[in-house]
């Protein structure tokens, strides 16, 4: 037991590496992608608005980074009433 504790205490570098990797993945995403996310938000909003009336407040664009992949999430809330109107007009 004591031996395990001893070994555990010594090998602290892997902990440092893991903490850094997680932290930097997060920091890089927030610093580097803040402009990109803002741009995507604007353009996605513009594209959707051409076809469906949406509330700009209810559009969410997020870029999340995990180990090897980045995940782009776009959440758009559409009112049932609005959607019906648009479909009606199209028909």
């Amino acid at each position: 037991m004591n031996l395990f504790k001893f070994l555990d205490r010594r090998a602290s570098a892997p902990v440092a590496r893991e903490r850094l990797q997680i932290l930097l993945a997060h920091e890089r995403a927030s610093v580097c992608n803040s402009n990109l996310v803002a741009l995507l938000h604007k353009e996605v909003l513009a594209a959707i608005s051409r076809h469906i009336e949406i509330d700009p407040e209810r559009v969410e664009v997020n870029l999340r980074e995990r180990d090897k992949i980045s995940l782009l999430e776009i959440d758009i809330e559409i009112d049932a009433a609005m959607k019906r109107t648009q479909v009606g007009e199209a028909a």
């Binding site: 010594r10 090998a11 602290s12 570098a13 892997p14 440092a16 590496r17 903490r19 850094l20 990797q21 932290l23 930097l24 920091e27 890089r28 610093v31 580097c32």
Partner: protein, 271 residues
């Protein structure tokens, strides 16, 4: 063709000034004309590490503002003819430096020197961004320690965004200089290994400077370590790094102090 090299790190106390002096002197020792420039306005220290603190009359801000000529402010090193120092001002603050003023000084230095080595202040504020502004190549100094690596990552981001080179859409050449490295502790998992730092920061390695008493000994007497104890492990590591900066292919090893059998057996007493 002259090169502007910025020595930067984000975090303070990792060895920027020591590395500027050591690399500048190493380059000058191989007959390059070198100017080392202190950008740490208000907290200058490069003059002290170079042993020229009593010879500073004019400084970077005097030249940048046009109060004095460059040649009057440059201090020629007494040991190496091709090495010059441009000190920072101790009485002014960082706002005294302007982008335009720094550009004029750098342009003038380019005409006279092969290497202009800019010692950046710590932090990511004006002083640090001005030191890197006109750089062609950057040496990012880091210790194998989490806060230093994190700050280096931030500085790498700034080098790719805030330098003139980056703004022109050109590639900014960046190198990692790992200082205060203890190979034994890294092998035992007590310290971030060089491979860990390289994997995290993803920039090429220019040198590994081992933790050594010789670094403090050299700065105590006001000498770049590469001039003070030329055969010491850190001096050899800095000289190798300087050769790599010149494009020479030098195998990467971690220099260790050469210890004879007697030293190994009797430790400090025999040393």
């Amino acid at each position: 063709m002259s090169k502007i090299l910025v020595v930067t790190s984000g975090k303070g106390g990792v060895g920027k000034t020591t590395s500027t002096a050591a690399l500048g002197a190493a380059l000058a020792q191989s007959n390059h004309k070198v100017a080392v420039v202190d950008f740490d306005v208000g907290l200058r220290n490069l003059d002290l590490v170079m042993g020229a603190e009593r010879r500073v009359v004019y400084d970077l801000i005097n030249v940048a503002n046009g109060d004095t000529k460059l040649h009057q402010a440059l201090i020629r090193d007494k040991r190496v003819d091709t090495l010059h120092l441009l000190a920072a001002s101790q009485t002014r603050d960082k706002d005294a430096l302007t982008e335009e003023g720094v550009r004029r000084v750098i342009d003038e230095l380019r005409e006279r020197f092969d290497w202009i080595v800019c010692d950046s202040p710590a932090g990511i504020e004006r002083g640090a961004t001005l030191a890197m502004r006109y750089a062609d190549v950057a040496v990012v100094v880091a210790n194998p320690e989490i806060s230093s690596v994190r700050d280096s990552d931030r500085i790498i981001g700034l080098l790719d965004a805030k330098t003139e080179r980056a703004e022109r859409g050109e590639r900014m050449e960046k190198h990692l200089l790992l200082t205060r490295y203890d190979a034994g502790r890294a092998a035992r998992g007590e310290m971030l290994h060089v491979d860990d730092v390289l994997e995290i920061l993803s920039i090429p390695l220019i040198g590994i400077i081992p933790e050594s008493e010789d670094v403090l000994r050299a700065s105590n007497v006001g000498s770049p370590v590469t001039l003070h104890t030329t055969t010491s492990a850190p001096a050899r590591a800095y000289m190798d790094a300087a050769r790599r900066l010149c494009g020479i292919d030098v195998p990467m090893d971690i220099p260790a102090d050469k210890k004879g059998l007697l030293v190994r057996l009797f430790g400090r007493r025999a040393a």
